[in-house]
């Protein structure tokens, strides 16, 4: 009860704060650039994320050109790539590695972490828990600008003469520590580390805000058990981020020491470039442990928000409550906890103690159980629904399909004995691009289509959305499904070409198919871009609640201003999934409708709550 009272007063304190703000109108700079409004910051994250997604996508098409058409003459790219092309018009092998590295870094961190969490945690947390803004608008603003700064540094690193970091997105030392080993480990790597340090600061500032807001600024009646699954997902994601990103920071810091100050945390017994280095006693394996202690939770940092968004969209568009709300929350909690104890499944064949491998096999396969539960719950939510295929719904169904297809291959890779052969082959590439990359990307797309009306007050075009979805959905499958076959055949990752080996001489046809599909998929994103940009300005005006949804953000005006609700913040009386309730007049009852107004559809225990309601809120 004490907590309840506290949150009540906190809301009111913030209430006044919000009203204060309405009195002074900011200029262009304070409204759009250095804004402290969570909705503007969310859009800043979204647009920066989209630019990065485009860059990351173009990089991937560049290296797919090399892999799919190894004989092609790419001199027509000379104006863009310049010296990174060999005189024969091929991509330089070192630049190829840089492309792979930057594609991974950009997609994992800048698009699917900042672009996804940054956008939707910022946009939805205050709107869905019923708050005027984030707990600290200033910290929130800083979070974006640290990300912007980090983006600038990473972007600059693409254009330096020694090239960007090229040791893989996992930056394993000694390769990433020694410029003698690869030119990208010179200035490029320094910029990578600086950029990541800034990124981690941004991520922590954001996460602290998300957690604080969810705990303290929920509106009256919004107990944790009434939170939409989106908020649960963002909340748990933020907790994972706070616990794991500092470890990456530590790993990066020690790497900086090794690179610049002659320490030997990760280096030992190295003979390179005709000389024996003085470093002794360090361990490259230590770095891998530290890196994956972030790296694995990072997978869930990327995935959980997408799953949260999907839960919301599938329930809304099936016109059904999400099946097993408690099981959904429980499985996310379980996944969040387990995500911290499975990291070494990335390291089965690194020479780590095999006994450790046994433990991590066990823990890794356990995490498959809550993941399976989530899939079953999504499928059951569709059962006997009344499904409306909005573009957001299409992308959500696509996500579940990818999550299933890619998740199932995790059962192979998590089993250390099977992983021996599959580790670092295209099987792994297929696995994580489906389960984490494409699934999260689809979650992000679903979110954009679903909340665009609340973000910009206008509607996106549905038909272009359908076209975008079908091209992307089929495209993604054509890109990543064939990679399973290529991987089972043993083709290693990060290979510039496989022609050196007889064992890997086949599959030129599949590789070409993958590359063509990648180009088509990337092109399809321009349909989305057009749809997005055009409709920000010219789209049909959106109704306040276009999808007949139950959550609080749809009770705000068409284009919510600073403070989100012009009047009082609505009070919450029910869970967010009262869709198609038997007896109800409409097929949805929003969270702010008290049970006393819906006697026709109340369940017995809900009638009991009416008494409590009246105790809480005098009529």
């Amino acid at each position: 009860m004490a907590i309840h009272v506290e949150s009540h007063s906190a809301v009111h304190a913030h209430d006044d704060h919000g009203h204060e703000h309405e009195h002074h109108h900011g200029n262009f700079w304070t409204t759009y650039i250095f804004s402290e409004d969570h909705k503007v910051i969310a859009k800043q994250f979204l647009i920066t994320g989209m630019i990065w997604a485009l860059i990351g996508g173009v990089l991937s098409v560049l290296f797919r050109l090399q892999l799919g058409f190894p004989e092609a003459n790419l001199s027509w790219l000379k104006p863009v790539l310049g010296g990174w092309l060999t005189p024969e018009g091929k991509i330089d092998p070192e630049f190829y590695l840089a492309l792979v590295t930057m594609h991974g870094t950009i997609m994992v961190f800048f698009v699917l972490t900042a672009g996804l969490s940054g956008t939707f945690s910022n946009f939805l947390i205050p709107l869905q828990v019923g708050a005027r803004d984030m707990a600290s608008g200033f910290m929130n603003m800083l979070s974006y600008w640290f990300f912007f700064l980090s983006s600038c540094v990473m972007f600059v690193s693409l254009f330096i003469s020694t090239g960007p970091a090229a040791g893989g997105w996992v930056i394993y030392p000694p390769l990433s520590a020694l410029p003698q080993a690869i030119p990208g480990s010179g200035l490029g790597m320094t910029l990578w580390l600086v950029s990541m340090a800034l990124f981690i600061v941004s991520s922590l500032l954001g996460s602290i805000n998300y957690i604080t807001t969810v705990i303290n600024l929920r509106t009256v009646g919004m107990s944790f058990t009434k939170l939409p699954l989106t908020i649960w997902a963002f909340f748990l994601t933020a907790i994972i981020g706070i616990l794991s990103f500092p470890v990456l920071f530590a790993a990066a810091l020690l790497l900086i020491f090794d690179r610049s100050f002659g320490t030997s945390f990760y280096l030992s017994d190295i003979y390179i470039g005709g000389e024996a280095l003085p470093n002794q006693g360090g361990s490259p394996i230590l770095f891998q442990h530290l890196f994956w202690f972030l790296g694995h939770p990072e997978v869930y940092i990327v995935l959980l928000p997408a799953l949260g968004i999907t839960s919301e969209i599938i329930a809304t568009n099936s016109r059904k409550p999400i099946f097993g709300y408690k099981a959904m929350v429980g499985s996310m909690l379980f996944i969040a906890i387990l995500s911290f104890v499975v990291w070494a499944h990335h390291m089965f064949v690194t020479g780590m103690n095999p006994f450790l491998g046994s433990i991590f096999t066990l823990l890794t396969l356990i995490i498959a159980v809550p993941s399976a539960v989530k899939i079953f719950n999504y499928v059951t939510t569709l059962w006997k629904g009344n499904i409306r295929f909005t573009p957001a719904m299409l992308f959500s169904i696509g996500l579940v399909s990818f999550f299933l297809t890619g998740g199932i291959t995790g059962i192979f890779l998590g089993n250390s004995a099977v992983d021996i052969q599959l580790h670092d082959t295209y099987f792994v590439v297929a696995h994580f691009h489906l389960v984490m990359g494409s699934a999260s990307f689809f979650g992000m797309m679903a979110g954009v289509y679903h909340w665009f009306p609340k973000m910009f007050g206008r509607m996106m075009d549905e038909k272009l959305g359908y076209l975008h979805f079908w091209l992307t959905f089929v495209g993604v499958y054509l890109v990543f499904f064939p990679m399973h076959y290529i991987g089972i055949a043993g083709f290693p990752r990060r290979y510039y070409t496989w022609t050196a080996f007889e064992t890997f001489s086949g599959f030129a046809d599949l590789n070409m198919l993958v590359s063509i599909a990648a180009i088509v998929t990337l092109s399809a994103q321009f349909i989305f871009l057009f749809n997005f940009i055009y409709n920000i300005f010219r789209g049909k005006l959106a109704p306040t609640n276009p999808w007949n949804s139950t959550t609080l953000e749809w009770t705000t005006p068409r284009l919510p201003g600073h403070g989100n609700w012009p009047g009082e913040i609505p009070t919450v009386y029910r869970w967010p999934y009262d869709y198609s309730k038997p007896g109800a007049k409409e097929d949805f009852i929003p969270q702010h409708i008290p049970y006393s107004e819906t006697p026709e559809s109340n369940l017995p225990h809900e009638n009991d709550q009416i008494k409590l309601q009246f105790g809480d809120k005098p009529l």
């Binding site: 999400i322 099981a327 499928v379 004995a417 198609s580």
Partner: protein
């Protein structure tokens, strides 16, 4: 060329824009603009999902069936047969689960598409169902874990005493192997600080076990006998990958790693089996290591025991190939070193004078 591509892109965009404009104009004329969403499109999407499910599954099964038996490189090791078996057991289980869920999901998507005369069922919870689909995957996974861990423990367990020890060293961007030599069958010590242009292994010549060690640019292994690879790297991480033997282990600077396996088929037998007289076993690198990562090919030959012994005794000790390095051998061991390395003893005096 650039112009053509640029023009093409502009044209495609223009066409898309026109379609989009015409589409919305037609809608305005029909007065449909205010409808929340279009029923016909809803049905089209539902049918497309059904088509996707059917074509997707048919494509998957057709391609998999068409190429069945040709996916993995032919297996040629004892533990490889075990892990392959585990792989296929996992495959059958997961493909069955995948197909069922995939079909059910898209079937629901299709069947329960919007119909304004129907109301969705308010179905929020069912503990029995939830417990069932938590417990069943848990049991299946437990079986896979059990099977997997048994295989893993066998594979990573200690090698037998009479295993053939071979050292594999990775560097940018080639592999080298070092054999312990037929006389002492022990690898000599090494130290990275002793590495130079000729002494690529950093052989420590004060250790008498190093005298008969020899280098080979081709890995020969005997069939049917356990081989223990001792793996290290000189500069950055590399990873030993022997696709046919299902062997993979990182090469780490500063830390020795190892992997034991038993080959089951000689190169000749495999050539016969695959009906490919040019077949060769290969070793590759699977840990990103720089510019030449994709080119670290190392030939591997599996011999019959007899051929293997013959090959072993035909190899020259490293010390014999680099007699200058005798000067690093302590004086009292010099004679033993020459005998072990197979250097004619009449050179002893000359060498001694030279080093004095």
């Amino acid at each position: 060329m650039n112009w053509i591509i640029g023009l093409g892109v502009v044209l495609v965009l223009a066409i898309l824009y026109m379609i989009f404009r015409i589409g919305s104009l037609v809608e305005v004329v029909r007065g449909k603009k205010d409808e929340p969403f279009s029923m016909s499109w809803n049905n089209i999407n539902a049918y497309l999902f059904m088509a996707f499910m059917i074509f997707g599954l048919v494509g998957f099964f057709w391609y998999s069936w068409e190429h069945y038996g040709t996916y993995e490189p032919a297996v040629a090791s004892v533990h490889g047969a075990v892990t392959d078996n585990l792989f296929w057991v996992t495959m059958w289980i997961t493909v069955a689960a995948f197909s069922v869920i995939f079909v059910v999901m898209f079937w629901f998507t299709f069947t329960y598409r919007y119909d304004k005369n129907r109301k969705a069922e308010f179905f929020a919870d069912n503990h029995k169902l939830e417990i069932t689909w938590t417990v069943i995957p848990a049991i299946v996974l437990a079986l896979l874990i059990f099977k997997g861990l048994r295989a893993w423990n066998d594979i990573t367990g200690p090698a037998s005493k009479d295993a053939e020890v071979i050292e594999v060293v990775g560097q940018q961007w080639l592999w080298m192997t070092r054999y312990p030599g037929v006389k002492d069958k022990e690898l000599g010590k090494h130290n990275y600080k002793l590495i130079d242009a000729a002494n690529e292994f950093g052989l420590d010549l004060t250790d008498k076990n190093s005298f008969d060690d020899f280098k080979s640019l081709e890995m020969h292994i005997p069939v049917g006998r356990e081989v223990l690879l001792k793996i290290r790297a000189k500069d950055v991480l590399h990873s030993v990958f022997l696709p046919h033997f299902r062997v993979k282990m990182d090469a780490v600077p500063g830390m020795q790693t190892q992997f034991k396996f038993t080959a089951t088929m000689t190169t000749a037998q495999m050539r016969e089996k695959l009906n490919n007289p040019n077949f060769n076993y290969e070793m590759a690198c699977t840990e990103i290591c720089g510019r030449g990562h994709f080119s670290m090919k190392f030939p591997v030959v599996v011999d019959t025991e007899e051929d293997y012994q013959k090959w072993l005794s035909s190899q020259e000790a490293w010390l014999k190939q680099n007699p200058d390095y005798l000067k690093y051998v302590p004086a009292e061991l010099k004679e033993a070193a020459m005998i072990k390395a197979g250097i004619p003893l009449d050179n002893l005096t000359t060498v001694q004078t030279a080093s004095n």
